[in-house]
């Protein structure tokens, strides 16, 4: 099947006074038409930077995309002019950000913020845009749309603002929506509402979705395929089932063993990952996870393990991956 989006060896770096931060260091993944891809990892692992790089939203300076390709429907987004990439943003690829409080303009009405996108990208008239905005609010489950469009963001609750963000993202019928921690700031019941809404709309409209989160449960519930990131690299990728039932990277294994689960009895032992995520300015020639890894061997200090297939479309970047996956497979 034709790939909608392909990242090839993407490298994004930040040049700071403390040194060069390799925030995204050779990341490759793809998204097929209409599918939902999850990117999981902890803060600072490069998951957001990799997404922002797709739309070239990295502040320069200090940041810069220093290498790789981003192919969207066959076109390399990194080679587009500023005018051309602006036509892609919000039109072919839309974003939903984490903070619904700060990503809307507080001095513009909700209606204006939606119609602005429509007028800009689709070149339609104000009245038509207004009508479309009413339709969009209805689509994301905001009732009394005509009155709501005249209101300002501070009249809206966090969940409602995120619905507005989704309406804006859908307004130009994009092929791909990138949702960066879309529900982290919201309460659980509102989180469920927003995620169900996004799933429902993307499936119905055939829009592909990249969902970036640190929440393993959210990914398990919604993603078809998963990329696990650590220290600027993808350390494991595969289908959601492969990643959760048959993890073949020690970091994935560690994450799964360290989260408390709703379906586990009280007092079930948690096995934390020791230590802390590394300082990205101080990475050496070895595997970045090695200091926290229970399986590390001498080779891990010398060479960075490449992302290699462990079978059936599942990839892992670990020198010990073969020894790691067998007993887990046998056990399951």
């Amino acid at each position: 099947m034709a790939k909608l989006l392909e990242l090839e060896d993407l490298k994004t770096q930040f040049f700071t006074t403390a040194g060069t931060v390799k925030a995204v260091d050779g990341v490759s993944y793809d998204v097929e038409k209409g599918e939902t891809v999850g990117i999981v990892g902890e803060s600072g692992c490069g998951k957001s930077v990799s997404a922002l790089s797709i739309l070239r939203l990295i502040p320069d300076p200090p940041g810069k995309i220093v290498g790789g390709k981003i192919l969207f429907m066959g076109r390399n987004l990194l080679e587009l002019s500023d005018v051309e990439i602006r036509k892609v943003r919000g039109h072919d690829i839309a974003m939903v950000f984490q903070e619904p409080m700060t990503s809307l303009n507080p001095v513009l009405t909700i209606g204006r913020q939606i119609t602005e996108t429509l007028e800009h990208h689709l070149g339609i008239e104000r009245e038509e845009a207004d009508a479309r905005a009413v339709e969009l609010l209805g689509l994301v489950g905001i009732s009394d749309a005509e009155r709501r469009l005249k209101q300002y963001p501070h009249h809206f609750s966090g969940g409602m603002r995120q619905r507005v963000m989704i309406a804006m993202a859908l307004s130009c019928e994009p092929r791909l929506i990138i949702a960066d921690e879309p529900t982290t700031a919201l309460d659980v019941t509102i989180q469920a509402q927003i995620l169900e809404l996004m799933k429902d709309l993307t499936r119905r409209l055939g829009v592909a979705l990249i969902i970036i989160t640190h929440n393993l449960g959210v990914v398990a519930r919604y993603a078809d395929r998963v990329n696990v990131m650590y220290a600027g690299k993808i350390v494991e990728k595969g289908t959601a089932r492969q990643i959760y039932h048959n993890p073949s990277h020690p970091y994935t294994l560690g994450l799964l063993a360290s989260v408390p689960r709703l379906d586990h009895k009280r007092g079930t032992k948690l096995v934390p990952i020791v230590g802390q995520p590394p300082d990205l300015t101080l990475l050496d020639q070895g595997c970045a996870f090695r200091p926290r890894c229970r399986f590390a061997v001498e080779r891990c200090t010398r060479e960075i393990p490449p992302l290699e297939e462990v079978g059936d479309g599942q990839y892992s970047a670990c020198w010990q991956k073969d020894k790691l996956s067998q007993p887990v497979r046998a056990a399951s």
Partner: protein, 344 residues
């Protein structure tokens, strides 16, 4: 091969703290209303935020009691009332049988040594201009527990190692530490006065996934080692299930359900609890594909003007006409399992 053994989860219950029978904390009919005022010269009260609206519970010695709910449900305010950081509008709080509202300042200070708190945000809860050693040593200095500076320093080193930090951190400033390390400092400060009871207000929600487990395990180890009692306030239902002996679910200032931990999670009875649990995703795509994802409609109403009768009725799938007018009492449906709903 030992090198390849996956980190198996042990199903066995490892928590060994003996839970006593006598309550250490008893909250009776607690109400906390915050006034909303209008006017500068003739200030008058125009409305009230009913943050906590008549809740009662007790916590036994050695027990970890969970208080869960969404933002604005009053769980943090409840903790602040117990700490006497808020003067409750109504109701009583007893600590080891003593009504703490009736204590004078000196007695209250003595009580504060026994009740400590761990805050959510490890960034704003530590003074950025103080060294870690002074942050942990300050409560001892204030309460005159260890007036001798050298002994105090030794105790600080001891507390740092108890919390899994190198004693040399005492000379550092908070900005030199990560979030997880700062939270350990916050825990060390809470332990400095050898408290009996610690209020943990969202202690892990600001931390990264892999660091959360470290802090959760630390809190468990300390509980077992020092026989601590926790009031664990959190919105993360998975963390609460992991840690708590008994759990109360709050909604708009009221307790809607209270039960033993596993009983509450395995057999939730109140429709709000059921919806809340259904909303939490489990990190397992197999299980998730089999779960029904019914979404609760609407949002939490404003506590300034809460719905009449049962506060949950506008969102409730079971609501009948009577729910608009009748305020449901918390009643014991099974031994130890309390629910505030007339329709179950």
């Amino acid at each position: 091969m030992s090198v390849v053994s996956a980190p198996e989860r042990t199903e066995a219950v490892t928590v060994s703290t003996p839970v006593g029978n006598e309550p250490i904390i008893e909250v009776k009919g607690l109400k906390m209303y915050f006034p909303i005022s209008e006017g500068v010269v003739f200030t008058r009260k125009v409305a009230e935020v009913k943050a906590v609206d008549g809740i009662s519970f007790h916590i036994r010695k050695g027990e970890t009691f969970g208080l869960v709910g969404e933002s604005g449900c009053g769980k943090t305010t409840t903790g602040r009332c117990i700490l006497q950081l808020e003067q409750a509008t109504e109701g009583q709080i007893f600590f080891e049988g003593v009504n703490i509202a009736e204590l004078d300042r000196r007695e209250l200070n003595a009580l504060r040594q026994k009740i400590q708190v761990i805050f959510q945000d490890p960034y704003s809860s530590l003074n950025p201009r103080m060294k870690i050693g002074d942050i942990i040593g300050e409560p001892m200095r204030v309460h005159g527990i260890e007036p001798d500076a050298d002994k105090r320093q030794a105790r600080v080193s001891e507390l740092l190692s108890i919390c899994g930090l190198d004693p040399k951190f005492a000379d550092r400033y908070p900005h030199e530490m990560s979030g997880g390390q700062r939270q350990r400092v916050g825990i060390g400060r809470a332990l400095a006065l050898n408290p009996e009871f610690i209020i943990c207000d969202e202690p892990v929600s600001a931390l990264d996934v892999s660091i959360q487990a470290q802090v959760i395990n630390l809190l468990e180890d300390l509980r077992d080692e020092f026989g601590l009692t926790y009031l664990f306030i959190a919105h993360d239902l998975s963390v609460v299930r992991h840690l708590c002996h008994r759990v109360a679910v709050m909604y708009l200032g009221k307790i809607v359900e209270l039960a033993e931990c596993d009983e509450l999670y395995d057999n939730p009875i109140h429709p709000y609890t059921q919806a809340l649990l259904a909303a939490v995703p489990v990190p397992d795509p197999e299980i998730e594909s089999k779960r029904e994802h019914t979404v609760m409609k609407g949002e939490v109403p404003s506590p300034i003007n809460p719905p009449s009768g049962c506060v949950f009725h506008p969102r409730c799938p079971l609501a009948v006409e009577g729910c608009r007018s009748v305020v449901p009492e918390l009643r014991e449906i099974k031994p130890g399992h309390w629910v505030a709903c007339t329709e179950v």
